[in-house]
Symmetry: C2
Subunit: 247 residues, 2 copies
DNA sequence: ATAACCATACTACCATACCAGTTAAGCGAG
DNA sequence: CTCGCTTAACTGGTATGGTAGTATGGTTAT
């Protein structure tokens, strides 16, 4: 987060980006207090744009603003992560199935390129780059069905999941598995097989359900003391069997 | 919009609510300029909370902020409405199908009550109340699958559709049709028939595709000069036949 | 008459000042 | 020593001031 802000551009969105990145990468840990004053001083800006960034972070569910008390990074809530995942699955499965009907061939080519780039990133073990291409893949797919204006919406929802994703990076991340899943999605769309494309996307986006309980047990200090809602348990057992995610 | 703000509570969210309502009900027309100064003076508050409300409105896609120029109510974009509808259909169909697996019986009772209230509103021809209960129905359903924390997202997406909905109110609004569709959704969930519940919700949320092109032709001054994306044309023809929404 | 220019009156954005409410430490009474 | 009150040092929310950039209308030069 050493990046400086560009005073020529709008400052508030830059602060938001930087803080979001810092929270998602666990540079700022749950429970940590974020001071408007301190953040503003660090970047050489006033409290006002920092405050606007805080508001956006709170809408994304990454911080909690307590008036006259402080702004704090929230603990990871399995409930919130599961709900965000639910929404994302709903939207992206719809994107995948719709892509079978309307996606132009050029879009499939671009998706193929992104998978190739992702393989390179995996080969050189560059996890940050890997995640960047992962995000680009999903965004490109959304654009392919002319849902570009819906992407910011997905991006907001993704914030909850990204922190978990980053937390799972140091572990043996099955990057090749995710790449295979991306490839399967593209193949299904190329075949114009809506059912298969939707199923592939659904399976892909349910991976996190497998690792989430294990991560929560491994890092209890980072997690809220709550449980996954019924729909998440339902989805997990339907996808990975009744005894999903053992320790 | 004569409601005064409560100075004891946070002002910015109140301003947002009031302005959003004014835009959705077409009290503020597309193209109209919103002045921080003027809005602030009208409600007896300073420019700062008004500015924060503007930012949220711009994120909801209801206004466009042009730095150093002004903030303007955007014209209704068929593309944006269709994309918002796409996202909402995806999420709420998933909610409906999931409800079949996890919704408790009490939730179904509450949904039934809301339908009864909606019938009363329709009988007394109170369209504002009708829309209130309509929103309550969908929110309650989301809560029934423990997706309460996902509702704010749906609410943001809904803003685009609400303006169209309000525009269609003066016309012969088939309130009874919408009530029947709600009832069918509840019946399907009560039967734990996920396929049927999803289909019912899908049909319900696609009604707007039928009226949108007609409204755009009837009120060209309110609409952006754009077209529905491919996924919306696909959905309309799949649901209402190839010649959907004639003049 | 027309086109270029400049002064003016806006705008949004950022910085600063002020306010009310919360917290916590320190002091004094029991 | 312990408990309770006071008070000072925070917080976020709001109000206000300053700055740079944009539209506009009148003026001047062509």
């Amino acid at each position: 987060m050493r990046n400086e802000v560009d005073p020529a551009a709008a400052i508030a969105p830059q602060i938001y980006r930087l803080l979001r990145q810092a929270i998602v990468t666990l540079e700022y840990l749950p429970g940590q207090r974020l001071s408007e004053q301190e953040i503003g001083a660090r970047f050489g800006v006033s409290r006002q744009p920092v405050r606007e960034a805080f508001i956006k972070l709170s809408e994304a569910g990454l911080v909690r603003i307590l008036p006259q008390r402080g702004t704090f990074v929230v603990r990871i809530s399995m409930r919130d992560v599961a709900n965000a995942r639910f929404v994302r699955e709903a939207v992206e499965v719809a994107v995948a199935t719709t892509a079978c009907a309307v996606a132009p061939p050029e879009a499939l080519d671009r998706l193929g390129e992104l998978i190739a780039l992702q393989k390179e990133a995996a080969a050189s073990d560059d996890q940050r780059l890997f995640l960047r291409y992962d995000e680009a893949f999903h965004r490109t797919l959304a654009e392919a069905v002319e849902c570009a204006s819906a992407w910011p919406f997905i991006e907001d929802v993704k914030a909850q999941m990204d922190r978990v994703r980053y937390l799972s990076l140091p572990a043996a991340s099955p990057m090749s598995l995710l790449i295979d899943q991306h490839a399967e999605i593209v193949r299904a769309i190329a075949c114009r097989d809506a059912q298969r494309a939707g199923d592939a996307m659904r399976l892909h986006l349910r991976e996190i359900l497998n690792s989430l309980p294990r991560l929560a047990r491994a890092h209890p200090e980072l997690f809220e003391d709550d449980e996954m809602p019924a729909h998440a348990r339902e989805a997990a057992s339907a996808t990975f069997g009744r005894d999903a995610a053992p320790a």
